[in-house]
């Protein structure tokens, strides 16, 4: 097999050499199962969604006439679409900042602890293991419950944590931070443990203070992890749905409805699948844009580090 490939390689054009290679050599056989799933559950729905977004199809699959860009035109003139898109962006900003900073702070704390490290590691990470339904019910029914909830009981307040349009988003963010900070914490902790000990040793010999070590060794060494954490966090936050759907249902007065829930509401309870697809595509474009910017920034940074 190798000889037939090797012999013409010196004389014949590259294209011909490639064509002669049996497809197993590309590893196609190994990625085929993945490819089938990928096409069936990602590529195909993506194309189907695009087609649906250009029609007025309903949940029964009928009424599927082609309407061109009418759904997109309706979406751009729909104040609720803008409101829910804004809610998603707001949630992303409000949640990403504390999730990254607290993840780092908790990791630093645990990393520098001497005793009961496992307990702290477990405490910060455990909530992340809970399913969203458990988290939502726990916070809605026990912690934020108006009247006799834990929070009102402890603080002696009478607030509607999830019922007040000015507070609902903050309450959801608080829950989300508690729930998911463990993941960022874990990434940071792993990164901290991989910083070579001799750097700190050398710094100590040079008389560096703890603060100097943090600023000049730890944080720069964590830069790549921070980039990764921020990307993952942004993408996760932009896709927020479950905890909001389960805790506030998007209310009160649309103050927490993220765009994914808006698409869900239109499509699955309003039965307008065509319009819902158009709204989903608007979010899709936003996420692709954010990812591209992120990639570019990361690449630049890596190049400058070189």
């Amino acid at each position: 097999m190798t000889t037939t490939v090797a012999a013409p390689a010196t004389t014949a054009p590259v294209a011909k050499a490639k064509a002669a290679r049996p497809w197993t050599q590309h590893g196609m056989l190994f990625i085929a199962p993945f490819l089938v799933v990928y096409v069936a559950f990602l590529v195909w729905p993506l194309l189907l969604g695009l087609q649906m977004s250009l029609s007025s199809v309903n949940i029964a699959g009928s009424n599927d006439g082609f309407v061109g860009f009418a759904n997109y035109a309706e979406a751009f003139g729909d104040p609720r679409m803008w409101r829910s898109l804004w809610n998603t962006v707001l949630f992303t900003v409000l949640s990403t900042v504390p999730l990254v900073i607290l993840g780092l702070v908790f990791a630093l704390l645990v990393h520098n602890l001497r005793f009961m490290r496992w307990l702290w590691r477990l405490s910060f990470f455990a909530p992340f293991l809970l399913p969203s339904a458990v988290v939502a019910v726990l916070w809605r029914q026990m912690i934020y419950q108006p009247g006799f909830g834990l929070l009102n009981g402890t603080l002696g307040t009478d607030s509607l944590w999830l019922g007040d349009p000015n507070m609902a988003m903050w309450s959801v963010v608080m829950t989300t931070v508690w729930w998911t900070v463990g993941f960022n914490f874990l990434l940071y902790l792993a990164a901290l443990q991989s910083i070579p000990e001799q750097l700190y040793e050398a710094a100590s010999i040079d008389g560096a203070s703890a603060w100097d070590k943090l600023r000049s060794i730890t944080l720069p060494m964590l830069r790549r992890t921070t980039g990764l954490v921020v990307v993952l966090q942004l993408l996760a936050s932009l896709k927020v749905f479950d905890q909001i759907y389960l805790m506030t249902g998007g209310g009160p007065e649309d103050s927490t409805r993220p765009i994914i829930e808006y698409a869900y509401d239109i499509g699955f309870t309003g039965y307008r699948v065509g319009y819902a697809s158009a709204v989903s595509y608007i979010l899709f474009i936003l996420i692709v844009a954010v990812s591209l910017v992120q990639l570019r920034l990361l690449r630049k940074r890596e190049e400058s580090l070189r």
Partner: protein, 449 residues
Amino acid sequence: MDDIPPTPHRTPTTITRRNLLGGALALGLLSSGCSIPVGLGSSQTRVKYWHFLGASDGVIMNGMVGAFAKENPALFVEENVLQWGEPFYTKVAMAGAGGRSPDVATFHLARLAGIGPGQILDPINLDLLAENGLRAEDFSPPIWERAHIDGVLYAVPFDAHPMVQYYNTDVCGRAGLLGGDGKLLPTKGTDQLLESLRKAKEALGGKPSLAFDALGLGTVGPWRVWSSLYAQSGGTLLSDDGTQITIDDAKALEVLAFMRTLGEEGLCDPTTDYGASVAAFQNGNAAFLWNGDWETTTFKLAKMPFSMARFPSVFGGASAQADCHVFVVPHQRARDPQVERATYRFIAYLVKNSADWAVAGHVPAYLPALEQPEYLALQPQSEYRSVITEVALDPQVWFAGSASRLWIEFGEAFSPVIGGTRTPEEGLALAKNALRRLMETPNPFPEER
């Protein structure tokens, strides 16, 4: 593939989600273990039945299904209890779209217009209905009429479930609100009602005497109360053809101001959600509960001193917001005639035994049942049966009906009015905006004709 484990027929106990899931799981394990589904002999005709009756009326329904099974050993009804509200309608729509629906499902009458009759639902087979002894004249005429879309019957009416007033006989007795026969003295107008609520509040040591679902995720309680009272004042939401908003601002605001008074004076607690309202009444912390009639069994089982009366007449009329449970036949690509026959037999059995169903609190839509001594003897379920002629049904538009966008939007607009964080004017403006938006939204199931 029919691998859905049948819901176990248990002796009537409370169906909680947990024991339902537990049962389903256990059966799932069982059937995967020995691969022969239990209770599914090949000689039995299987009827798949979906319903959303998860309140205490679910216990009664489960008992009726069990009784049917006993009388008809050749038939097997596979009962699936799904979550009430929007998720149920989404499920039915998707199953109907795929043509792989259950054979029969419960439905809300006011949702018929919005679910694409002829696409998601199949018309009722009138021959099979007649064969099983159900005739048009046996049903409450306005409800029967409403079950038709463009002259085609799409639903078999089962009951009406109006807003009612539950009252604690102990507390009301202490407050001097009961007549010589031990029944609640009816009130008329706002002043009398407020007066009796104040007296009851005193008897409770200053606790809010009225409970209703006023707040919470997807709350529809404020809509139910407002809609009942507003209908009493003669107001309407939409013109008959559904194209014009006909809300009478003065009347609507009067009702909202009254609801605010209830919250402001502490006659009701504006932070009560659905569960808390039922709990407050059950624990004797409230003298009155305004709710649909479906919690009757809850309080019966709690063995508490309570009775029920018609929703109070406050703004002139005596109507109460209501919807009706009906049976529908979701769309299937191909229908097995034998199963179809069994399905109608099952529907007819339930309808004819409406008096059993009335135990759950609902008022039968099947008129012969209303005359049956068993029904008339039901206490307190027969106390409010006269409301059947004065029920306030939703306007006949695609976005109305139980758990519809209309209910949720109005509930959300009016909930803060009771608590005082929005003025009645602001609440009404929000509701009208929502209504306008709903009317502008294209109907996802436009008429094909």
